[in-house]
């Protein structure tokens, strides 16, 4: 694997991350917002795997396993919170909780 291949994979990972970021900023549905964070995790994981393949060691894959673990933990906790918030206000709108702004 050479520089050229690495750069292409990094570009895809970066684009994935940015699309997830835009979604997190624009969407107002709490569930879709967390789906967009998963997209950002995907971009990071792709970058890690590409770097691991580029350097010829397994560090990237080990890091990706940690990313998957964090993503699973985050999904379970975040969705629990979403259900809790939905029970409080009966809506999934993130703007319903705007009084939490500092």
């Amino acid at each position: 694997m050479n520089e050229l291949v690495l750069q292409h994979y990094l570009a895809v990972g970066g684009i994935l991350f940015v699309i997830g970021l835009i979604g997190f900023m624009t969407r107002r549905n709490l569930i879709v917002m967390f789906l967009c964070t998963e997209l950002m995790f995907q971009g990071c994981a792709l970058n890690l795997i590409a770097f691991g393949a580029y350097h010829g060691n397994l560090g990237g894959q080990v890091f990706t396993i940690m990313v998957l673990v964090i993503a699973a933990a985050e999904a379970s906790l975040a969705l629990g919170l979403v259900v809790l918030l939905f029970r409080h206000k009966n809506t999934l709108d993130a703007n319903a909780w705007r009084e939490l702004k500092g």
């Binding site: 684009i15 994935l16 624009t26 997209l39 397994l58 396993i65």
Partner: protein, 292 residues
């Protein structure tokens, strides 16, 4: 100082940059406008289609430039490792799927497009010789996390007034985006910087020696060198499970009568088979309960 000056950004690397900065800028602006039009809003569906076409066009131009560069570099150095042709398919499906995740107004469709993105990312992992990670990605994301998401969508999504319009039955927060212009500007500015930095530097760190790279080697690394991270992963997952149960449980009110009934011992049940009368036969032998 002009961008093409050799002293800018150290050492005249811009002269060899694959993507010209102006091209990156134009592409990001065009894609930003396309994404802004594509984001859910109360505009006409035709406008959103035009936005999707603009974003797709920017993606195509970027892909064409990169493809031409990859083909040219493969022609100049025939023995160097080349990009797999499947890379282009998987990359295109990944990016388009991600765009649809973000821009589709219906959350269930967003989740399904996310599955598509997961599968094509797993394809990219396979191309990078990370087969185990591809399998784990499909199992964990498409298998576990997405099922949780769909369950929560079904639990929490209330459908409103239904009709024939394309946005009928959707809540207001799904239809109208929050600050789409700012978000697109910030996001695509970041994307421009990222693309510029990625393709700016030819010849970074040289790839080191390639060791064994299969699943067996990954397992040996995990359980020898990175044992602590495996343990930490287990602790994190346990904590997340306990936390999710503690967060999402609901306090059910129990009446006083129910609580009394639970604390009392259960009533005695006649479970001696000899006391059970047998009906329905004239044969007196069958009326006797068979012993042992």
């Amino acid at each position: 100082m002009p961008l093409s000056d050799p002293g800018f950004f150290g050492g005249g690397l811009l002269a060899q940059a694959v993507l010209h900065p102006v091209l990156v800028l134009v592409l990001c602006i065009v894609a930003g406008i396309g994404t802004f039009l594509l984001l859910p809003s109360r505009r006409e569906p035709a406008t959103r289609k035009i936005g999707g076409a603009i974003a797709l066009l920017a993606l195509l131009v970027l892909g064409a430039v990169l493809f031409r560069w990859a083909a040219g570099s493969a022609a100049s150095a025939p023995d160097a490792p080349k990009l797999n042709p499947y890379f282009w398919i998987f990359a295109a499906v990944t990016v388009i799927g991600a765009l649809r995740v973000v821009t589709h107004p219906r959350p269930v469709y967003s989740a399904l497009y996310f599955v598509l993105t997961i599968f094509s990312t797993a394809g990219l992992f396979v191309l990078l010789a990370a087969e185990f990670m591809a399998a784990a990605l499909v199992l964990i994301y498409a298998g576990a996390i997405l099922v949780t998401y769909v369950f929560v969508i079904m639990l929490a999504q209330q459908s409103q007034n239904s009709g024939d319009q394309p946005l009928a039955g959707l809540a207001e927060y799904d239809v109208v985006s929050r600050e789409p212009i700012t978000a697109c500007a910030v996001g695509f500015a970041l994307m421009g910087v990222l693309l510029f930095v990625i393709f700016d530097r030819p010849g970074g760190l040289p790839p080191s020696a390639t060791g064994p790279f299969d699943t067996r080697a990954l397992g040996e690394t995990l359980f020898s060198r990175d044992l602590l991270s495996v343990e930490v992963a287990g602790v994190i997952l346990t904590l997340a499970m306990v936390g999710a149960i503690a967060i999402a449980r609901r306090r059910v009110p129990v009446s006083q009568a129910d609580r009394l009934r639970e604390t009392q011992p259960p009533p005695q049940v006649a479970d001696n088979p000899h006391t059970i009368p047998i009906y329905g036969t004239d044969n007196p032998r069958q009326k006797a309960y068979p012993e042992a």
